[in-house]
Symmetry: C2
Subunit: 225 residues, 2 copies
């Protein structure tokens, strides 16, 4: 087993190097980068479809879509006229920094202010792989129940915000969202939480405003250094 | 990278050995074993909570619960008076055959006819790990959308049945279930599909009847060999 652990550390170590390189490249281009992760079908792509057309002029977006197979999500983003690159991992259960490096070659970073990296739908493995991002946002659907932060703590511990999506379904569910938020903050104190619906649009503008403000502080901090 | 692949093959090879050993042990005890997999929050535990009390007398059930953290699911099953062992993987994103071997030591196999192994919520990694099971059942929630079989094909390719759960939410969703089934059968032709709701109980008895019949054929086949 020791051998296995050494190999894993080597892979993760290589990934960290690629991630640091991506981060430098994105910082130099002034691109604030947001990883979106969550379970399959939690609404990550739908959230982007709702949010991208509402971005303010100083938050010109781009997207990298990560999927094991198909370019279905990439096509949905391209239909909005937003620059997008689809990464097909071909079996790998998470995005890796080396994949992102190649994806960045296909984007005009100078034309972007914010880049969303939508990870493979998976509430476990993406936690271990830095991609070069500025922040991580986790998308949880109301239909997944309140106990997920306790059962999948690593992802929540590494998140900078939690989006609880599909709140339009609340009248038909027995989920306790206050408990979900409390569990998430038990794992990651002070985690900002947004409640959204891609059907009604609820919460989308609040999330964009938060992103916009965070990007502003990030830009000011990086111009000082 | 070659080194990595060799290690992975070694891990998977070891897992296959453990799985074969579990299978012999379960076969000898006459225990039909069903792996339940699917995304986090798709309703795997709720499905068991609904189905276990309805099992016929010749289908005495037991459960192994797999979670990264917490024994929440194990407690839900224990509350029904059904024998259950909780495996906490401590970070690992899937059950492995070695974990099941240890879990079997805690169950009285002679008192069981069917054993459910509920995997970690993950639509990717569990596909690669045999556990010693007789069949694999995948649970997909209506809320996850119709495209999952195309985006996560390995899990569907290895499934012996698909349960589309949470059909009670259909009036509030824009999902196309006929497309979901067609995509699943594109990946795995003739895949049996059940539509269930743990709120209304719809489809649960049909699924149990199918399991019961399959277990009967399995028992007859194994008594002939």
């Amino acid at each position: 087993m020791l051998e296995t652990i050494r190999i894993e550390q080597k892979i993760l170590g290589q990934n960290e190097e690629y991630a640091a390189r991506n981060r430098r490249r994105l910082d130099e281009a002034g691109v604030f980068t947001v990883v979106l992760s969550g379970s399959p079908g939690g609404g990550k792509t739908s959230l982007l479809e709702r949010a991208l057309p509402l971005m303010p002029p100083d938050l010109r977006p781009g997207v990298v879509e990560g999927d094991i197979e198909t370019a279905l999500d990439g096509k949905r983003i391209a239909a909005l006229g937003v620059p997008v690159t689809q990464v097909v991992t071909g079996g790998t259960c998470h995005l890796e920094a080396g994949m992102i490096e190649k994806a960045l070659d296909h984007l005009d970073l100078q034309a972007l202010d914010v880049l969303f990296l939508e990870n493979v739908g998976n509430l476990v493995c993406p936690a271990a792989y830095a991609l070069g991002e500025s922040i991580r946002v986790i998308v949880l659907s109301t239909t997944e129940g309140e106990d997920k932060p306790l059962k999948y703590p690593a992802m929540f511990r590494k998140a900078d915000a939690l989006i609880i999506n599909k709140v339009d379904l609340l009248p038909y569910l027995s989920v306790d969202l206050a408990a979900a938020e409390a569990y998430a903050r038990q794992v990651k104190p002070d985690l900002p939480v947004f409640r959204t619906s891609c059907v009604t649009g609820e919460g989308i503008e609040e999330w964009i405003a938060w992103l916009s403000e965070l990007r502003q502080s990030w830009k000011q901090a990086s111009s000082r250094t």
